[in-house]
Amino acid sequence: MNNSLIQVENVAKRYRLGTIGTGSLKADMMDWWNRKVRNKKDRFQEITEEDKDPNGYIWALQDISFEIREGEVLGIIGRNGAGKSTLLKILSRVTRPTRGRIRGRGRIASLLEVGTGFHEELTGRENIFLNGNILGMNNREIRSRFEEILEFSGVQKYIDTPVKRYSSGMYVRLAFAVAAHLDPEILIVDEVLAVGDAEFQKKCLGKMKDVSEREGRTVLFVSHNMQAVQNLCSRAILLQSGRIVSTGEPRQVIAHYLHSGRKYDLLQQWSTPGEAPGNQHIRIRRVEIQPMPAEPGGPVDIRTPLLVSFEFWNLDPLHLCIGLQLLTLGGECIFDVSSPSVLLQQGIACGECLIPGNFLNDGAYSISLFFVKDTSILLYSHEECLSIEVADYRENVSWFGKWEGYVRPDFPVLLQMKLPQNPAS
């Protein structure tokens, strides 16, 4: 067992909702008065169990305890708003926890800090030093790696040009080059925050693999890409509404993630447009996956056709087509099909799509719907709204390993003897 590098103990973080405007000075002073002068208990300290209390505070994290061991790649997964970013902010010391403590050793650097502090009036050279200093390197360290950084960035020719003249690609490459040469003991990679092109994200992942595999460093990886988490991480933590709900083997934690939090797996419906998700054009009324097994109540397996049906309130008369995507729960799209564009009146519209049996491989899938106006303008997307698990089914096969592939169509594959060998010849 490797030594532990960071220990997180009972960390909780509370945020105040809303803006700081008129009255907050008064509220703060009254708090202070009650707490310190009249010696009452902090009224916020008593309410701990609720996620949200009536006074406009919200708990972004609660009871977070875990440890990070030397050399491991720890994945943190969870839905948006589960507290991942807050946790990273606390770990990178940008903000403090409301309760609990974290102890550790080693320098933490994160790739979500790419380009922080870059000043566009300054030259590339000045910015390398400025950014490096901000990220915690001293001048000697930067100088010793300057050539490497320059080479990695590929902007040698423009190094004495102000970065405001750079293309955005050059800018990002230079910024990334500095962050990538920080040499931290602990690297935080937040894929969610690393907005930017696919190439840049790939570079992030590549660097991460490098750092963990070749240099044996510790990495904290936050991502929505389950495939990446599964491939890269040695351990994973699942956050849900600010709490750790699962930790351990990435495969198991991901399975937990995929099965949790989906309240409406096969059916979502709303009775009035007011409460339904959507916008001024579209309100979702019902979306449903109906498995159509050969016998009622039978298992849903790879042979089962799936009928996807949906209804929505159409609030404007317009030319509309519906796109339907089937995704693996890792987020990869298996197919993307679309209805013809139809002129719809105001009112309730409906549609359906039949995914035939003997088409999908076994696994868990989700469905996203896209509402497109005039075949080009996206009005609303209802993403990953449904999910379904398709079980395996095999006949006359004595092998039980994982069947590869996203789809498992029932195309005939022929096999026969072409020229039998004559035993006599």
């Binding site: 940008v94 009036e121 000045e126 901000i134």
Partner: protein, 284 residues
């Protein structure tokens, strides 16, 4: 499974920092950052200007000329028997140093929110860099002041510098301390209550009128003398003039008053800043 304790925890993150938990050891590591920020300030201020750093000299010179015309020639305010040029220049240099330093420090959070939201480093680095940067500007401006002094001392023989001159770095340190302290307090307050920002510039303008910049302390009428005298910048301005020009109300006791004010304000400022820096981040 419970794991072994971390052998030597190098750092610990807690809900709140102490009032005076300065982390001096860690801070030294960031001296390069302080100097880098100072350098950035300089490089950025004079990018795409025609005259560049010459503005540093030009600005107080132009202000002085304006004051000579308005306050000395038109309004006829006394300059304590001193020639107007060095009299106003001395006041302006001292006052400018303070009045540039203080807002530079107090805007710490608002102008660095983006960086503070992403990277950790001791936040005190930024205000300290702001003060160092202003000190450097002040030093360059002395390059204007000293030739003027020489001219009036040796050629016109109308001013009489004395040995207190040697103590002038002390005066500057006290001014810098007061500016840093007030700035730190205001930086925390403005991070939370942004409308206070408008008050800062108003307050600075008011403060200039109770600091002997455009008049000597000796002509202040008794009605407002109290307000001018309790201003800790007053003894510093007067001492500065006394040291270089030979006239002004100076006593060590009065200077000690300034020093004590500086110590109290700076102590309070650092303590408050230290205590609130992390909370301020959550409301930005």
């Amino acid at each position: 499974m419970p794991s072994p304790e971390i052998p030597v925890p190098a750092w610990e993150i807690n809900p709140s920092s102490g009032w005076l938990d300065l982390r001096i050891r860690g801070s030294w590591h960031y001296k390069d950052l302080v100097l880098r920020l100072v350098r950035r300030d300089f490089l950025v201020s004079y990018r795409q200007t025609v005259l560049g750093p010459i503005w540093l000299i030009l600005q107080p010179l132009l202000t002085t000329l304006t004051y000579i015309v308005i306050f000395s020639k038109v309004a006829g305010i006394s300059t304590d028997g001193l020639p107007a040029m060095p009299f106003y220049l001395a006041g302006i240099l001292v006052w400018n140093f303070f009045s540039e330093c203080m807002p530079a420090v107090s805007s710490t959070f608002s102008s660095n929110a983006a960086i503070f939201g992403k990277v950790y480093f001791p936040r005190l680095v930024v205000p300290v860099a702001a003060v160092v940067s202003q000190l450097l500007r002040f030093t360059i401006q002395l390059g204007l002041f000293f030739p003027v002094l020489l001219y009036y001392t040796l050629y016109r023989r109308t001013i009489h510098p004395n040995l207190l001159m040697l103590a002038f770095p002390l005066l500057i340190v006290i001014i810098a301390g007061i500016a840093l302290g007030t700035g730190l307090i205001l930086s925390v307050l403005t991070a939370k209550y942004r409308d206070l920002n408008n008050l800062i510039y108003f307050g600075l303008r008011l403060m200039m009128f109770v600091t002997p910049v455009i008049y000597p302390l000796s002509i202040v009428p008794s009605g407002i003398r109290f307000w001018v005298r309790i201003n800790p910048l007053t003894p510093l301005t007067e001492a500065f003039r006394y040291a270089f020009l030979g006239k002004g109300q100076f006593s060590w006791g009065y200077l000690a008053y300034s020093f004590i004010c500086m110590a109290v304000i700076l102590f309070a400022g650092i303590a408050l800043f230290n205590r609130m820096e992390d909370q301020a981040m959550d409301v930005l």
